[in-house]
């Protein structure tokens, strides 16, 4: 165990909060990305796609 002196609680708390916030941010971004992808996949399964994705863009004259 690290000996961080008389102010160890402040040091551990700082690192703990940083780990918690950054971990939360990473978790939230991963969850949000999966959620948006699932929603997009659900549209595709119903045959609804973006024009650019389906390759049916209107041709310019």
């Amino acid at each position: 165990m690290l000996d961080l002196g008389p102010h160890a609680a402040f040091i551990w708390s700082s690192y703990g909060i940083v780990a918690l916030v950054l971990g939360g941010l990473i978790g939230w971004l991963a969850y949000d990305g999966r959620r948006q992808q699932r929603l997009l996949d659900a549209f595709e399964q119903r045959g609804i796609t973006r024009r650019s994705a389906s390759g049916t863009q209107r041709r310019r004259p």
């Binding site: 102010h7 700082s14 690192y15 950054l22 929603l39 997009l40 549209f43 650019s52």
Partner: protein, 255 residues
């Protein structure tokens, strides 16, 4: 500039970021692991003792708090002047990440201040200006979420973020302009850094690790935002099709 122009197409950005993101994550993890190892091995400061270890996370968080805002302001400029298609996506994605790093700078600074200054908080120029920066982030997020029209929300948020950039030099020079409990700049200053290399090296490695992590988070948040806009566009087109089906028989009665 060429890469920025190339990535103006969201589909091209999605393909590019899918390749780059895993590498960014791996580099960030590696740098942070090395940084943490160097942090543990760093000697105690002759005045502050082991509490100097808080600096290895506090300073990078504070730097990134300011860098994220700079990125938002640059993206906002890109939106308003060049109408870059991804500029608004970039600005929107950076705001919550910047707010998180600003909150971390405030909290870790507070936890460092108590054993060193004897108080968690003083209404000192540096601390107060960083608190204002945090409120600026919250203001940008609140303004955007209060307007339903995405394009209008982007423009108004861009104007507000450009006005708010005045806070950055105030934060940077607050320790020089006013009497402050906060120490003056010791790394990014005219002349050489005033920190011994045994503490400077872990700090720089941690700062680099935090910076790469920030760009990885920002890229992921941009990808999520592009997906969200695609979902929204499909939902809108589905609603329009449904409305057309309902309206169809009334406008074109069966013969």
């Amino acid at each position: 500039m060429g890469l920025v122009a190339d990535l103006a197409n969201p589909s091209r950005f999605m393909a590019y970021s899918a390749r780059v993101l895993p590498w960014l994550c791996a580099v960030a993890a590696l740098l942070l692991a090395i940084g943490l190892y160097l942090t543990v091995k760093a000697p105690p400061d002759y005045q502050q003792g082991e509490t100097v270890k808080i600096m290895f996370i506090h300073v990078p968080a504070a730097w990134l708090a300011m860098m994220a805002y700079t990125l938002i302001a640059l993206s906002s400029f890109g939106l308003l002047v060049f109408r870059h298609p991804l500029a608004d996506v970039s600005a929107k994605a950076a705001a919550p990440i910047g707010a998180a790093f600003t909150a971390l700078a405030l909290v870790t600074g507070s936890l460092w201040g108590k054993p060193m200054w004897g108080t968690y908080w003083v209404w000192d120029a540096r601390l107060t200006s960083v608190l204002i920066l945090f409120f600026m982030y919250l203001g940008l997020i609140a303004l955007r979420s209060s307007i339903e029209d995405e394009a209008l929300a982007g423009k108004l948020t861009a104007v507000l973020s450009l006005v708010g950039i005045v806070i950055l030099p105030v934060i940077k020079f607050s320790v020089t302009w006013w009497n402050s409990l906060h120490q003056p700049a010791s790394v990014l200053r005219a002349g050489a850094p005033t920190i011994h290399s045994s503490i400077l090296i872990p700090l720089l490695v941690m700062a680099l690790g935090f910076t790469v992590l920030f760009f990885a988070l920002h890229m992921k948040a941009m990808r999520n935002e592009i997906l969200r806009r695609r979902v929204k566009a499909l939902q809108m087109s589905e609603v329009e099709r449904a409305a057309a089906r309902v309206a169809g028989p009334a406008t074109h009665p069966a013969e």
